[in-house]
């Protein structure tokens, strides 16, 4: 059974359930933590529901994948749930572990066989020499093997066993003839061969060497392997520790390598974020790494293409607006001349003139807004900042707007708020909001100025609220309404031809340029109507000079 969330990007089936932002078609890729920012420039973005074809395709893929083997599933699990960094780390760790294990096992094996071989040959040599001693001793005193044994003892031989004329005699050591494995006895005594065997006697591991002595019997000697065991144990311990250290080093290297491997991704993510944030000139630095240079150059190509396209679009809008200005000038001047001669016109001509006048002024507003917004896009806007007393500024802005009688109220604290801004641009913001209220909000709005801080905090923000008497803005349209030319369903229902669709977009641009933000909510008093709020940084002054000109 295929889990669709693994095989394809997850889709939010209901864009309206989100925050009401414009659905975007950018696919959200499943990405490791550091890279997630690339795909989701706007975390609030929602995807549209998949269409039927996509769903079908997904189902088909699911079936196909369903028949694959476990290795495939492991890989899928790895790639889908384990991030790139973790995969690199895991690879390094497992690699180091495997390498250490192979090295340790091989080393141990070699050391062991070498050690035993050496032990074996020295033991056989020693035994042969001792056997000759025994042979010599038995020749001089052929009665008993006791002399031979005492001679061996004096030579420091620890565990000899002699079979002499069918009689067994052992040295002072712990081992007796009973401890000699039967197989060895048989090979030495019956077959007359030199032989040795490793055996466990009691708690000890021993090498027993048997040497036949012709016509006399045989000589056996026990060599303890405990020391070698101990050595081998030490070697094993050292190798184990070395393996652990190697693996640990592998982990460290893995972490470093993973970090290094992901760094270009993080840089790319950062660059993509910067581009999404409007810094279209952002590029990745050139690199010598052949693998990365492909990424960097294709990313940069993409950014250049994007920039070119955006600039071309912006220039087109700007060019169009510039071209429109000349005929517009002629139109508005001509209309004014006709307006001055209204009385000479017939009833019908007057109606036509009214329509013409209205639309020419709307056209003019639109072109001005377009020019302004293309200046924003071109980044050609420079603010002329000065300190402004918020209340005095708003009252002045209202006085020169299309509704100079709009009521402005302020909280006592807001009376002391000083904002830093470009007065002409901020006045435009107020004027646009008033125009918007007049067009869609049922006539003149009310304006409130309030501080946005708790009483025990310092004043850092001031809010200018424009409250209208219209139908309000539905929640799902509240972000959309600040988009260019986005009038929204509600706006469409509203009557009248006002509203070029750029006014609120310009408000948004201006306010953001001032480091503030703007949003729309319900009226604060519970009545129906929208409340547009501009929040700006502010400082508090104590004096009472209220002319708005502090600069």
């Amino acid at each position: 059974m295929t889990d669709p969330s693994v095989t394809a990007p997850a889709y939010d089936a209901d864009p309206a359930a989100g925050d009401g932002r414009m659905p975007t078609t950018a696919p959200v890729l499943e990405t490791p933590d550091a890279v997630s920012a690339v795909a989701v420039a706007d975390p609030s973005a929602r995807l549209p529901p998949p269409d039927a074809a996509l769903a079908r395709l997904r189902a088909e893929r699911g079936e196909r994948w369903g028949g694959r083997g476990p290795l495939h599933w492991l890989r899928r699990w790895m790639t889908s749930t384990v991030g790139l960094r973790r995969r690199i780390l895991l690879t390094f760790t497992l690699g180091a572990l495997a390498l250490a294990a192979i090295l340790a096992i091989t080393t141990y094996g070699l050391v062991r066989s070498n050690l035993l071989e050496q032990r074996d040959s020295t033991s056989v040599r020693t035994a042969a020499r001792n056997a000759q001693e025994v042979q010599g001793a038995l020749r001089s005193t052929p009665d008993t093997s006791a002399d031979a044994l005492s001679r061996l003892t004096s030579l420091g031989v620890e565990a000899p066993v002699i079979q002499y004329n069918g009689e067994w005699s052992a040295g002072v050591g712990r081992f007796t003839a009973d401890d000699i494995p039967v197989a060895l006895q048989r090979r030495v005594l019956e077959d007359g061969e030199w032989s040795r065997i490793v055996a466990d006697v009691g708690d000890d591991t021993v090498l027993v060497v048997g040497i036949p002595i012709p016509q006399i019997g045989a000589y056996f000697e026990f060599f303890s392997l405990d020391e070698d065991e101990q050595t081998l144990n030490n070697v094993a311990l050292s190798l184990f520790l070395a393996s652990v250290i190697t693996t640990a080093l592998g982990v460290v290297l893995g972490v470093l390598a993973a970090r290094r491997a992901v760094r270009p991704l993080a840089e790319t993510a950062q660059a993509a974020k910067a581009i999404a944030g409007g810094h279209l000139e952002t590029r990745l630095p050139p690199t010598d790494d052949p693998d990365l240079s492909i990424l960097a150059s294709s990313f940069n190509d993409m950014a250049s293409a994007l920039q070119l396209r955006i600039e071309r679009d912006a220039r087109f809008a700007s060019d169009v607006s510039h071209e429109l200005r000349s005929p517009l000038m002629t139109l508005s001047a001509s209309v004014q001349v006709m307006e001055a001669r209204r009385d000479e016109l017939s009833e019908r001509a007057r109606s036509a003139l009214d329509l013409l006048t209205g639309d020419v002024s709307r056209f003019q507003g639109l072109v001005e807004d377009l020019l302004e917004i293309s200046r924003f896009d071109a980044g050609a806007i420079r603010l002329h900042l000065e300190d402004l007393r918020a209340t005095a500024f708003v009252r002045n802005a209202v006085a020169v707007s299309s509704a100079p009688t709009v009521k402005v109220t302020a909280t006592p604290r807001a009376e002391h708020a000083v904002i830093r801004g470009d007065r002409r641009r901020l006045a435009r913001v107020i004027a646009n909001l008033i125009d918007n209220a007049k067009a869609y909000g049922g006539g003149d709005p009310e304006i409130t100025i309030s501080d946005a801080n708790l009483p025990d905090e310092g004043l850092t923000h001031v809010r200018i609220g424009v409250e209208d008497h219209g139908p309000g803005v539905p929640v799902e349209e509240r972000a959309l309404i600040f988009e260019r030319f986005a009038r929204g369903a509600t706006a469409g229902r509203r009557t009248g031809s006002e509203g070029a669709g750029l006014g609120l977009a310009l408000v948004d641009e201006h306010v953001r340029m001032h480091g503030g933000r703007v949003w729309v909510e319900d009226r604060s008093d519970g009545a129906t109507g929208a409340r547009f709020v501009i929040e700006l940084n502010a400082t508090e002054v104590s004096d009472d000079g209220g002319d708005g000109d502090l600069a």
Binding site: S326, Q336, A551
Partner: protein, 226 residues
């Protein structure tokens, strides 16, 4: 003889429409399609106000403005394509008294022209001579003397100086000056004041970089000192 306006604009249709609209105000309008033609017309008959589009073929609006300024203090309104700093400040530096950005409504243009015409005929009569150190203002004659020698100011510069002089020692904010001299509301362009103050200083100050008369009061505005 009524008010004469010279409109320099290369787009014939705009020129015609503006001419029609301004004539409705009762003014006589002459149109010129190029700077060269404007200089010729100007030499034949000095108008009361000149309207110059800075985007002209041949000598451009800035050059035309400077050319006219060499011989005349006639009020000049510049028409700029963009209201960004470069064009506006360059136009004002070239000697323009005011500016408009395309597309403007003809009503706006009439209002600007009326303000300029008002400026040419300063209201306050009966003022005595005003003396500020080596500077001497004779409002009635529209004259300024420095060490007894006449200084040539444009009408707007003269009006600006008179406003500052009428309230000796008072600090005028940019907005006040915009209102009193240019007839703008609270949201006029402060650059008009700044550039005109700069121009005024080059004429009345001994050392314009260290002004002793037209003084900037940091954060507040300007003041005239004796």
């Amino acid at each position: 003889m009524g008010t004469r306006i010279l409109a320099v604009e290369d787009d014939e249709r705009i020129r015609e429409a503006v001419k029609l609209a301004l004539e409705d105000e009762g003014w006589t309008v002459e149109g010129a399609a190029s700077g060269e033609e404007a200089v010729e017309l100007f030499a034949r008959h000095v108008p009361d106000v000149v309207l110059i589009d800075i985007m002209l073929p041949g000598i451009d609006g800035f050059d035309l403005c400077r050319t006219l300024r060499r011989t005349s203090d006639v009020p000049i309104v510049m028409v700029t394509a963009r209201n960004d700093t470069h064009d506006v400040v360059a136009g004002l530096e070239a000697g323009a008294d005011d500016y408009l950005t395309k597309p403007f409504a003809p009503k706006e243009l009439s209002a600007r022209i009326r303000a300029l015409l008002r400026r040419v005929r300063p209201a306050a009569p009966g003022h005595e001579r005003l003396v500020f150190g080596e500077l001497e203002l004779i409002p009635e004659e529209g004259k300024v003397l420095r060490d007894g020698e006449e200084v040539h100011l444009t009408k707007t510069e003269f009006r600006l100086l008179c406003e500052l002089a009428e309230n000796r020692g008072k600090v005028f904010s940019r907005e006040e000056l915009l209102d009193k001299v240019w007839g703008y509301d609270y949201f006029g362009d402060g650059r008009l004041v700044d550039v005109h103050i700069r121009r005024l200083r080059t004429k009345v100050e001994t050392d314009p970089a260290a002004p002793r008369h037209v003084v900037t009061v940091r954060g507040l505005g300007y003041r005239l000192e004796g």
